[in-house]
Subunit: 305 residues, 3 copies
């Protein structure tokens, strides 16, 4: 692992020094965004999204524009994939057009791995979410938001709760928090939605949500997709909310002034109550704002613009 | 109402002084567009469209680019709405990413009202068409086009004709013409498609199209959607054209050299004959051209770039 | 025909001097792309695509951005066409918004002809593929790639093979190679997919693929669409590959070190074997890279930016 990686594919394979540098850079960019307005001038980023996404695509696009890059968007609906082209051929075609950076979201877990191996040295790849496995910039923006509250993470207790199995946030965020030396990482999922052993290693796993919440400093809630409920013996979203939703009553079990995070988009009244999402302990808007600075920092560090 | 509003949501709630200033600014920008090429440099606009639109979205986008702003487009098809996110959450998420201006089109009449109330002071909202109620920049571009022909509007007779009930242009345009002191505003709609009392107040309402046309200086025709015909005892578009279409013969009933406007997209041979749309009395291309300058002026006045 | 045309609609109607100038300019831009970064500053291009396309749309967009133009994308899905607007009205509407250049892809062969005739002198139209008839920038990028290998085209033998009937590449590429004085142009298509007499005039037409390949310097393979096979007594893609696919064995029939081209997107294992597409004789990536420079040159020469 070199000091300056070519790509950002996942958290696990990245050097902690690089990840800390991205977080420091993101904070510096937030403090003085205008200083970077021309940093990426003359560079080109392609957003290639095989799944729809508002927040992640727009966040990357704004991050690039704030650095002075040019941005081209390609959505799956446009894509030559419809004409039977392989992902590798689409990638090679776009790469031949000379972008500096290619940001990819794809439904398959390992979609980026062969592309990263095939990329020319001047082509940088960033994973904007792949399958249910990796979403490294989400992990970085979550860490930035956590660090704002707890500059010494070794003193912090963080709970990640909800559908740990299908969330692409789980694996990346857990890996990053461990690398950054989190004090205690707790995990809690409804039956059948637990995280795998790689994620659980080094974490404290709870099956009782109330017990998991006791005394934590930060709760990161994950989205539940409605179509999962049928497989869980949970009759409807209201029932999920009663058993697994973060309500004001449940939040009161956490530490005083505990903070609440959610990667969005939220299902209000399902995994999180509106009073919590919009309440004074919520960091949800800060997460989104930090997302832009985090992605600026990733682009900056990969391109050394 | 302050001198410089934060948002442009509808015409009715806007100060007439501000609306006149936008119109003056639009004319100044048309006279010397190059003077404004860097005016919005470093600012960011998000186009958030929950309904498809070519002309309005592209017009806003070009207006912003001509002022040097950066533009990010979000279409409903991409949207987190698909994942059950509320409009308010999508708005808050985009707002947290730091745009200066958010341009929204939405199928619901009152969609923007709660967003405007929730917006931070530095976030400006512009309505690009909401429900069948408001389309304030269309009203402004229509007024700009009218003023080119009739600098003293108090001497002009204007007829708005067609589907007044479902058109988002009706309410905004009627409100603006009244605020600008139009000489005479006439309204004429097929049975069942009449405007409501708020629009009709202060206007002269006709049920006979030929009588409504007599002596008017300008006819603004509105689009009829094919699916409305079934509910109107009108068997087909040809029948609508015979009864409610602006033909050369009908136009001859208006004042000599009367002008014709249409907000587009046109149904040729339905609400308007091609000979009229493409004829020497048509202002339809000028409306589109003025749309870009009007939107430049709106952006400029809201942002004070 | 003037020295500097207003539009690029097809190859056949263009002056050879102009086409050669585009090719020279493209090579100059490839040699020193940074010299042109501000050349189109203050100019606006609209991409209007009535068919989905990744490679062509993105290639035009990147070309324009590299010249400093601003770009607005309009996809058919957004389009007012859905509301019954004619192509001419959509064109006139967009033209009234003041773009310098409009790039259009459309499923109909002659879609651009009436628009080109109606365009104001300051509006330039470029065909990005129309029907099965014309794709002039593809022909130019193919010619640029050929010229890199064979600066004296009068010494080169080129075979275009595959579905000549439905390919929009066929007609434009054949016309351009003839204008540039190609040594020998060969054509070979499966039964029922032959080119028409205009394309075949001046070419050597083969019905045996192996015979056609004998001794050629360059093979340009065309894409076969799966839905064509049913009409051809060919049971499946594998059968097509056996009879009409460019395999390493077949390529060995061509001249030593013969080059292989394909306009993409490829059907690997159908009209072309992966070993050939990815092998040392393939120019497919160079075609894509040259596409950006070719389109930069077209924009530059039409706009004289």
């Amino acid at each position: 692992m070199t000091d300056r990686p070519q790509h950002l594919i996942d958290i696990a394979s990245q050097d902690t020094t690089f990840l800390r540098r991205v977080l420091d850079q993101a904070a510096a960019m937030r403090a003085n965004p205008d200083a970077f307005r021309q940093a990426g001038s003359g560079r080109l980023m392609v957003n290639l999204f095989y799944e729809p996404s508002t927040r992640t695509r727009v966040s990357f696009e704004i991050a690039a524009l704030k650095l002075g890059l040019q941005v081209v968007n390609v959505a799956a609906a446009d894509s030559s994939v419809k004409k039977g082209e392989t992902l590798m051929d689409t990638f090679r075609t776009l790469e031949a057009m000379g972008p500096d950076l290619l940001v990819l979201r794809h439904p398959e877990d390992e979609a980026l791995v062969p592309l990263a191996a095939a990329a020319a040295p001047g082509t940088h790849l960033v994973n904007a979410g792949s399958g249910s496995r990796a979403h490294p910039t989400q992990a970085l923006l979550d860490a930035m938001t956590l660090l704002d509250e707890h500059p010494d993470l070794s003193q912090a207790k963080v709970l990640i709760a909800g559908d740990l199995h299908h969330s692409r946030v789980t694996r990346s965020s857990a890996a990053l928090l461990k690398k950054l030396g989190i004090g205690e990482l707790r995990l809690c999922a409804p039956p059948g939605l637990e995280a795998g052993p790689e994620v659980s290693a080094g974490a404290v796993v709870f099956d009782d949500f109330d017990a998991a919440l006791a005394g934590v400093d930060v709760v990161m809630m994950l989205r539940i997709q409605h179509e999962r409920l049928a497989g869980m013996d949970i009759p409807d979203p209201e029932a999920y909310h009663r058993e697994w939703g973060l309500t004001p009553e449940r939040l009161a079990l956490a530490a005083p002034q505990a903070r609440v995070m959610h990667p969005g988009p939220m299902n209000r009244g399902v995994e999180i109550a509106s009073e919590v999402a919009d309440g004074p302990q919520s960091l949800i808007q800060q997460q989104v704002a930090n997302g832009v600075f985090t992605r600026m920092a990733v682009i900056h560090e990969l391109l050394k613009v």
